[in-house]
């Protein structure tokens, strides 16, 4: 190409910059929007915090209560976030010196959230740190703080079969109550058969409330399974593969499991016998993992030890003690450190922290880490147990008052 052409081409290129300057000169100086509709949708569906108030307390029995929650508009929550039946909210509680979280399934229907109401139902755990606090302190008008709805134990039509068999133990019934309600009011289009395991007849949670739902729809069935009581009209024993087959539909189905860890481990063996394709069995542990000692790969010589845990957050460092049978998250909570957490079952990753030195044991069943995180030394504190002195870097809790 000739020099002349090059000169012309360079001029042509430079004219682009003139066009750009012209576009800028012609533009408005009006202030830019602070928010946009899609961002508003995101903050409605996934608010960082929900400030709630107890509207009503329903006492089902001495150890079982439902709490009806409404938005605490004075604190800035105008409406409750919508959710998918089966999801939970994680409460953020200050108990004594400790900042702790607890996930509880929303047991009311998603449609109720549009009327600004959630209901959660809690069973008091004997000597339980958090449930005792809740039973002693939560009354009408009490302000409480929770996360946005979270969790994946919901019906997904592109993945799940049109029949769900729900296996529930203890208060693990609550997400199924929400799903049953959503089926009854037409929000969800799926059939649900619940096998609900309780020890005794009077341990069955929400029995009268369930009767009401069952009277409204033929798409929900509830079978109570009692391990200790043998009563007419109730199944006796445990939820076994045979029992599931007895009540499951003849057409393909998906199994949803929610209950305490012991039940989950038992169920795991039973559902394997059904030889369902992968993906047909879904579960959520709901923060119910206990001690790691029973895991076959747990290093025996770490048992019953107390280790030194160094916690670094930004430029602040604190040394605390950590018991081998409790997660690093719990050790921090005991010591009054405000650390992030949500699901408490290793799954959501909110408590992700950096391991600077030392060793932890992460039980496979709750080790939901990303592969690269394992390689680069990151842990989920809720699913990591110290097996040596440990030093970690924990991000500041996003919602805590960051600088006191």
């Amino acid at each position: 190409m000739s020099d002349l052409t090059l000169q012309q081409d360079l001029q042509g290129l430079k004219s682009l910059k003139n066009e750009r300057n012209a576009a800028i000169d012609a533009a408005s100086t009006r202030p830019l929007p602070k928010t946009f509709p899609v961002n508003e949708l995101a903050s409605k569906l996934h608010p960082e915090s929900q400030f709630l108030k107890i509207k009503q307390v329903i006492k089902h029995s001495a150890d079982e209560r439902s709490f009806v929650l409404e938005p605490d508009t004075e604190k800035g929550t105008q409406h409750l976030a919508y959710f998918r039946a089966g999801q939970y909210i994680s409460f953020r509680l200050k108990i004594g010196n400790s900042y702790v979280t607890r996930p509880y399934a929303i047991r009311s229907a998603p449609a109720d959230a549009l009327k600004d109401q959630y209901i959660i139902t809690i069973k008091r755990v004997k000597n339980g740190f958090v449930t005792s606090f809740i039973f002693d302190n939560w009354a009408v008008g009490t302000p409480v703080e929770a996360s946005a709805p979270a969790g994946n134990l919901y019906f997904e039509p592109l993945r799940d079969q049109k029949n769900i068999v729900g296996l529930a133990g203890g208060s693990g019934i609550t997400p199924f109550y929400s799903l049953a309600s959503a089926i009854a009011d037409g929000t969800e289009h799926v059939k649900l058969t619940i096998l609900y395991g309780s020890r005794q007849h009077d341990h069955i949670l929400l029995a009268p409330e369930f009767s009401k739902i069952l009277s409204k729809t033929n798409d929900v069935k509830l079978i109570n399974v009692l391990s200790d009581d043998d009563i007419d009209g109730f199944e006796h024993g445990f939820i076994t593969a045979e029992l599931i087959q007895k009540y499951a539909p003849k057409t393909p189905y998906s199994i949803f499991i929610c209950g305490p860890e012991a039940m989950y481990e038992f169920m795991d063996k039973e559902v394997k016998k059904l030889n369902l394709p992968a993906g047909r069995i879904r579960h959520e542990l709901s923060g119910n993992y206990g001690s790691p000692y029973h895991e076959t790969d747990y290093p025996a010589d770490s048992r019953d030890k107390v280790y030194q845990l160094t916690v670094k957050t930004r430029d602040h460092e604190q040394i605390i003690s950590a018991q081998s049978n409790e997660s690093i998250l719990v050790a921090m909570e005991r010591a009054g450190i405000t650390a992030p957490s949500l699901c408490r079952s290793g799954e959501c990753g909110v408590c992700r922290s950096r391991l600077i030195s030392g060793k932890v044991f992460s039980p496979e069943i709750i080790d939901g880490r990303r592969v690269a995180d394992s390689e680069y030394g990151y842990i989920h504190t809720c699913a990591s147990f110290p097996i040596s002195d440990v030093s970690i870097e924990v991000p500041v809790h996003d919602l805590a008052d960051q600088f006191g």
Binding site: L6, R20, L158, D315, E375
Partner: protein, 511 residues
């Protein structure tokens, strides 16, 4: 609290590289990120036994050790040890409408041209010319993109006259001028979606370079998803004594006498000599600065621009292997029309017209990416976020499930591969998801749309003016001079940090 040389806001691809580069150059560096993970969209998430790649399709400009691209050179300089897998073949494009076609395109210039000649007899000569021009663009780029603030355009022009000659002309117009047959053009148009500018608007220099770069240098994916790259870059920052604070929101950029001096988080101000924002200027000037502090040129530029597209992705963990399902392609582009302008226009509304979909099967590039006997597919569509403005919380799940269902049906019908019954895990990302995690306006993932005056060339020529909107405040990332995309954002972070380092060095001399 100590004062940093450099404070980087946002740990997306641009911010990560900017922070790591600054730290590696010996500057005291603080990286602030609102989320609890590095990477922005360059991350991963787990569902059941799958760990999904959220956003990366093909890392461009990586290349081989013998012929390293700019990104490999950058990663080597940063000292990353990430294992990459080369994606097999270039892409498959299926036009499913009337006069449809199905083209499986290989990598390698010769193989690509041969395949096109086989599919479109008579295309060889024009396509060979195209490759010559694209290659010239690629070489010109390689020369100036590391130092775009100091380009001698005349020298570039003498060395690469065709690059300058065709640079700003629309891609489609140049293909027409080269007499590339329409069907060959259709096949060569698919990559428009990676930058979100249709072929009628897309400057030849960039689009031509991009296609040639992918075909000649191949495309790469990391072994354990983008999260591995992000974590590795962060590690470089930490290894070079940089600080990284997660869960940390910058409420405001602190401006004194018209100059950026620090950031406010919580009730505290942290001072920095230079501030780099891996945040789109619309957000910085709209939300993170007092209206009276916003520089006029920056405000007008933001007002003159159009937000780029957002995305819609369906992530599928399947309980069968690619062999069992009959999946043979890493990357398939599917649409009823091959006209990129029509495809682009359809992204402005949320209806069935918007059928342009990319389906990737990660196992084809990295067989170990999911457990034996399983496979991972992910589909990508573009939408302008505004097409989701009407969605309400209570119908959100239904809206996304419906589109995901269409995507699955479309893929099954175009390829004959049946996946519906093998779905073990599914997750769906929408503009809302990007707005939630990236906090970008309308969930944009592509920065600003590339108006002809706001594409790579114009932005590159204006890089110094753009950088001088406010003293000590700089930008990088997907809205940067190379526009969106992983390689572009990495490069922009590198360039911005280097510009900042030069300015700090000058300040030292002045002192």
């Amino acid at each position: 609290m100590k004062k940093y040389d450099v404070i980087v806001i946002g740990a997306g691809n641009g911010g990560l590289v900017a922070a790591a580069t600054a730290a590696k150059r010996g500057l005291s560096t603080l990286l602030l990120e609102r989320h609890n993970l590095p990477g922005g969209a360059a991350t991963s998430f787990t569902r059941g036994r799958f760990e999904f790649e959220p956003s990366l399709h093909e890392l461009a400009n990586y290349g081989t050790p013998e012929m390293p691209g700019s990104v490999r050179q950058l990663f080597d300089w940063l000292g990353l040890h990430v294992k990459f897998h080369e994606a097999p073949g270039a892409y498959r494009v299926i036009k499913s409408g009337p006069d449809g076609f199905d083209a499986v395109m290989p990598t390698g210039q010769e193989a690509f041209i041969n395949k096109l000649e086989e599919l479109v007899p008579g295309s060889r000569e024009s396509v060979t010319k195209f490759f010559d021009l694209g290659m010239e663009s690629l070489m010109a780029f390689a020369e100036f993109q590391a130092k775009p603030n100091n380009i001698d355009w005349h020298a570039i022009g003498e060395k690469y006259p065709h690059f300058i000659h065709y640079a700003k002309r629309p891609y489609k117009e140049v293909l027409d001028e080269l007499n590339v047959p329409q069907k060959a053009q259709d096949i060569m148009m698919a990559y428009w979606c990676y930058i979100g500018v249709p072929g009628d608007d897309f400057e030849f220099a960039y689009m031509g370079m991009m296609l040639v770069a992918y075909v000649v240098m191949g495309a790469y994916v990391p072994t354990t998803r983008s999260h591995e790259i992000s974590t590795a870059i962060l590690q470089t920052l930490l290894d070079n004594h940089g600080d990284a604070w997660f869960n940390t929101e910058v409420n405001r950029i602190v401006v004194e006498n018209g100059k950026a001096v620090g950031v406010q988080i919580g009730n505290e101000t942290i001072y920095g000599r230079e501030i780099i924002a891996d945040v789109i200027p619309t957000t910085v000037y709209g939300k993170m600065m007092r209206a009276s502090d916003v520089p006029e040129r920056g405000l007008k530029l933001a007002n003159a621009r159009t937000l780029g597209t957002s995305g819609f992705l369906v992530y599928l963990g399947l309980n069968k292997s690619p062999e069992e399902l009959g999946i043979k392609d890493y990357s398939v582009f599917i649409s009823k029309t091959a006209d990129s302008s029509e495809q682009f226009s359809a992204t402005k509304e949320r209806n069935k017209q918007n059928d342009f979909t990319i389906m990737n099967c990660l196992n084809l590039a990295d067989p170990g990416c999911s457990p034996a006997g399983t496979s991972v597919l992910y589909a990508t569509k573009l939408y302008f976020g505004s097409s989701w403005d009407d969605v309400q919380p209570e119908n959100y799940a239904k809206v996304k499930d419906e589109i995901a269902q269409q995507v699955i049906d479309q893929y099954e019908s175009a390829t004959g591969v049946k996946i519906r019954d093998a779905v073990e895990e599914i997750e769906i990302a929408t503009p809302e998801t990007f707005a939630r995690y990236l906090r970008s306006p309308e969930g944009e993932i592509y920065g600003y749309y590339g108006h002809p005056w706001d594409q790579m060339l114009a932005r590159t020529m204006a890089i110094n003016e753009d950088d001088q909107q406010m003293p000590h405040l700089h930008f990088c990332g997907g809205s940067g001079f190379l526009m969106d995309g992983y390689s572009s954002a990495y490069q922009s972070g590198f360039v911005t940090a280097n510009m900042v380092a030069e300015q700090l060095a000058k300040q030292e001399v002045t002192k």
